[in-house]
């Protein structure tokens, strides 16, 4: 598997619960991807800027405070505004079921609930990268 995929794991909003985000970042790096972790308390604008600057193909958003409906779609929209709509956005955290559907409608490609095995995230990345322009 060629692993030149670059991924930004980011924490939008004011939420400090970063155990999951740090785990995902480290586990994806161990799986061979290039991973950047944003740190906590980032604005959607800062995340989009980081994603473009770091030339990533994926942005994984983690949020446990309930602000996901305001912040996840905003990241998707800002990426589109910056002609970076091909960057794949996925997410995780405390996301109630009905919100998952709405987030997907808004362009978040996948939402992983707590307890998701890392293999599922890797499978998602591997399946989705096929659609991307050749790396």
């Amino acid at each position: 598997m060629e692993n030149t995929v670059r991924i930004l794991i980011a924490k939008p909003g004011l939420d400090g619960h970063d155990r999951g985000a740090k785990y995902i970042a480290r586990a994806l790096r161990d799986a061979g991807y290039e991973v950047i972790y944003s740190g906590i308390r980032q604005t959607p604008e800062a995340i989009v800027e980081m994603a473009i600057q770091e030339d990533v193909q994926f942005v994984g958003l983690s949020l446990l405070s309930g602000a996901h409906m305001a912040l996840f779609p905003r990241v998707v929209d800002l990426l589109r505004e910056h002609d970076a709509g091909d960057i794949v956005v996925f997410g995780g955290g405390i996301i109630p079921g009905p919100d998952v559907y709405e987030l997907q409608e808004a362009g978040v490609r996948a939402v992983f609930p707590p307890g998701t095995p890392i293999k599922k995230v890797i499978d998602f990345i591997e399946a989705t990268r096929q659609e991307l322009p050749a790396l």
């Binding site: 400090g16 785990y23 972790y37 409906m69 912040l71 405390i94 609930p113």
Partner: protein, 555 residues
């Protein structure tokens, strides 16, 4: 003196004065289900080494407090069942509080939303999406007045989970009390006020460590002088543990934080026994029942020894480690959420067997959303069943003398001591946090734990074994989106209606005080609050003077 003579002395000198003031419970049966009477406390058999017993365990309510901080513990009064709550606007949370008080609850525990916890008003750009989400939004004294409307502050105790802006919320609370005609010395409650664990694990810091520690010692002094019944801090291992620390790390880092606060207060010129009796603690209660019980017992013994040996305090009030416990959120699963009721029962039982002074039990739907009312009720009922039906509250420290529990208590203390020694070598906890060593320890432990689950080296029912045919479904509460607009127009209204010049001059006075490292900050904060300066303005003035902390993150 033989153990039986010691027991007579303890009964006479320690128990009787307490029982005269606070008789033991008459509502519960202080006997087993089949009618065997239960002694207040069980001791090693006659002929056991009395000196060794007193050294490591002692009697309940006596140094080194391993067996509990009060002589009769739950035979006198059950722990306080204190459920953490708060959502939306101050008006809504006030209604919930008054409902809880009408139902007989005597303690409140306020959850604030993230903008409040980080010192932003609701109309700040960074508050987008977060207003009223994980707690109630408080922008100014006007919100605090509504939050405690028709709640007599001399008759409730109020715990506030607030850290970086703790001084501001405490000031608001005292001004609300003033307006109710309640004197400062009758106020009871706790501010979390534990900034060090925010840098380590929880993330709601604002200022760099040095001015933050100054705010902490200023509140210690204010509480010592003005609020004698108020817990000036709740030194928290909970969030450290939730971030992935082991039980040993939770124990060690919490006590290391506590040592740092005591040292800061002593350097600021406070007398140890003027403030140490109002330090309180907050731990997590996880699933590994025996280790958790050992942890709570080790924590008490370690703190008593630290206070005596390191800080030279002979005051039992200063030596006794009083703690709140919350059941572990990270141990709960999104899969098969009803199973979490069983997990919470184990956690709560550990806290009670470990001698907690107050307890919050989590709801089964923690991993899915904010809890529904039904889930909260089950969580509270779990505590009530343990109190009224399990019988474990009818004798003090019932697991004492179990070879396994005593060995684990010793082992946790000894392992935690190794961390404390390392932290001392690093120059104390503030320096260690600056270097990022505790943070790295916690991240490594969290990563190891999760890998073990992935590799099936650690089994979690419903997650990596016994998955069954599908998740059971429970109703979840959605997050609400409508609070933001209401709160924004409210804070705008406050800014329009107040005497703007008065508010500005109090903020200028606060800036002046902030620039003088020896000046007290509490009184200028109280004056700014009284003039309806907003939380965002007060924290903004301090941000200008102190700067902001930036986390350096390496994964």
């Amino acid at each position: 003196m033989s153990l039986s003579n010691e027991r007579s002395r303890w009964e006479r000198e320690v128990v009787q004065p307490v029982v005269r003031r606070h008789p033991e419970r008459r509502d519960g049966r202080l006997e087993t289900a089949s009618g065997v009477p239960l002694e207040r406390v069980y001791l090693p058999p006659e002929g056991a080494d009395g000196a060794a017993y007193r050294e490591s365990l002692g009697f309940p309510g006596e140094y080194p407090f391993t067996r509990g901080v009060q002589p009769t513990m739950y035979r006198g009064r059950y722990w306080t069942m204190r459920q953490y709550a708060g959502f939306g606007t101050a008006r809504e949370t006030n209604e919930r509080f008054r409902y809880l008080l009408d139902e007989g609850q005597t303690g409140l525990s306020v959850a604030f939303d993230l903008p409040t916890q980080i010192g932003y008003d609701s109309d700040h750009g960074l508050a987008l999406g977060e207003v009223g989400k994980v707690g109630v939004a408080i922008d100014s004294l006007a919100d605090m007045e509504v939050l405690f409307d028709r709640i007599p502050l001399d008759r409730v105790s109020t715990s506030m989970t607030i850290n970086a802006p703790a001084a501001v919320l405490l000031a608001m609370y005292t001004v609300v009390a003033e307006k109710q005609g309640v004197s400062r010395d009758s106020l009871r409650g706790t501010i979390q006020n534990d900034i060090l664990k925010e840098y380590i694990a929880r993330g709601t810091y604002i200022f760099p460590p040095e001015p933050s520690m100054r705010l902490v010692t200023n509140t210690f002094r204010f509480c010592a002088e003005e609020l004698p019944r108020w817990n000036s801090i709740s030194i928290s291992g909970y969030h450290i543990r939730e971030a992935g620390a082991t039980a040993v790390q939770e124990l060690a880092f919490t006590l290391a934080d506590a040592i740092a606060y005591v040292e800061a207060a002593l350097s600021a010129g406070l007398d140890i026994d003027a403030f140490a009796g109002r330090l309180s603690f907050f731990f997590s209660a996880g699933s590994d029942l025996l280790e958790e019980v050992a942890k709570f017992r080790a924590a008490r013994r370690m703190w008593a020894r630290i206070m005596k040996e390191r800080f030279g305090s002979d005051s039992p009030r200063s030596q006794a480690l009083r703690f709140h416990a919350q059941t572990s959120g990270a141990a709960l699963t999104a899969q098969q959420p009803d199973n979490n009721v069983v997990r919470v029962t184990l956690h709560a039982l550990a806290a009670v067997l470990g001698g907690a002074q107050s307890l919050h039990t989590n709801s089964r739907d923690e991993a899915l959303s904010l809890p529904t009312e039904e889930s909260v009720r089950i969580a509270l009922r779990t505590q009530q069943i343990i109190a009224l039906e399990s019988g474990v509250a009818n004798t003090v420290d019932p697991l004492a003398g179990s070879w396994a529990v005593e060995a684990l208590t010793d082992e946790l203390e000894s392992r935690a001591r190794e961390y404390l020694e390392r932290i001392d070598r690093e120059g104390g906890m503030v320096a260690a946090i600056g270097r990022g060593t505790p943070q790295r320890d916690i991240e490594d432990a969290a990563y190891r734990y999760q890998r073990e689950i992935e590799d099936h080296d650690r089994l979690v029912v419903g997650v990596n074994c016994h998955e069954g045919i599908g998740d059971s479904c429970i109703d979840v509460m959605g997050f609400r989106q409508d609070v933001h607009d209401a709160q924004v127009s409210r804070v705008e209204g406050v800014r329009e209606e107040r005497d703007g010049a008065a508010a500005a001059s109090t903020l200028a006075a606060l800036r002046d005080a902030a620039r003088d490292p020896d000046a007290d900050l509490m009184e200028p904060i109280v004056e700014a609050v009284r003039a309806y300066a907003t939380l965002g303005e007060i924290c903004g003035a301090l941000r200008d003077e102190f700067g902001e902390y930036r986390q350096h993150t390496v994964v």
